[in-house]
Symmetry: C2
Subunit: 154 residues, 2 copies
DNA sequence: ATAATCACTACTAAAATAATCATATTTATC
DNA sequence: GATAAATATGATTATTTTAGTAGTGATTAT
């Protein structure tokens, strides 16, 4: 039941780009900039960003002052989409999506399959309802709360 | 977001023992018997059953006519318990339970952590509400349905 | 020109996974 | 008491996944 670093970093990178989004189309972020903000290894993040580009999540510009930017508006990118793209289908076990599954002679009669489907649906309901715009709103609320707590010395 | 074979086989083994439960305390199942029913590799299952014994889920008897049986009533064993015991904490990422997490400088301000908590809670709600008695009921309903479908040639 | 930056491919070390193997110990039954 | 059937335990292994690193090439603003 784990998300890998690959998926984690992908989400963080897109989140950084989302925070940075819209100021102007010229406004790209370099890999190293994103890596620094999210505390991620640069060369590993590079691979992830290139994958995200192929997936249509981000766009890139090469050369000096090049970098990455979101290919779509943050409200058009769902968290679940990114997870699925980076990690494969959201399902606790392969038999949920694929009918063929080694460990199961009787897929139709398998009660566990039903449970995994429930789990899958419930997880998908959460991550597919969340866009990166939602995340930004949450983030801003959080940092507002934090700063006001600081202000009043709570 | 995956369950491993270890966890999968553990659930299946306990389910077989649960189906077999209560007929008498003498009524144990051998590893090979369980393995056959669940289509699992015998020696791998052996390790899993021994782990489950240490975890207090099953009891064993050695020697001829030995084997395994549940240590508790099926209604006293939750699916979530077994998953946690075999796979570790149910959480998409380590930062949910543990405060220390390499990939995150700012755990408090991290919006993803909140999402993973939501996911975790929602998954736990499902698997912690399910006992092996529930599974048996589901299973019997299913096989009843199947046999009646056969009967009426649907 | 050149320096900064993305693009791509290949490689690698470590960990996890899914087992197998060998050997000991226990116990019902003949 | 011998034997066979079973669990108990620890070691070993093969494969895959993960999390990177390294190097080289292509592009472009200055």
């Amino acid at each position: 039941m784990k998300i890998t670093y690959k998926g984690d970093y992908a989400l963080k990178a897109i989140f950084q780009l989302a925070l940075h989004y819209g100021k102007s189309d010229e406004c790209v972020m370099s890999i190293s900039e994103i890596a620094k903000l999210g505390d991620m290894p640069v060369k590993f993040l590079e691979q992830i960003l290139l994958a995200l580009r192929r997936g249509g999540f981000v766009k890139s510009r090469r050369g000096v002052k090049g970098g990455f930017l979101l290919a779509r508006h943050p409200k058009e990118i769902k968290v679940g989409e990114v997870i699925r793209f980076m990690e494969g289908p959201i399902e606790p076990i392969a038999c949920v999506e694929k009918e063929s599954y080694k460990g199961c002679k009787d897929v139709a009669g398998c009660i566990f399959r039903d449970i995994w489907k429930e789990v899958k649906n419930s997880v998908c309901a959460i991550v597919d309802a969340l866009t990166f715009e939602d995340l930004i709103i949450r983030y801003k609320e959080k940092s507002l709360k934090k700063s006001s707590m600081l202000e009043y010395n709570i």
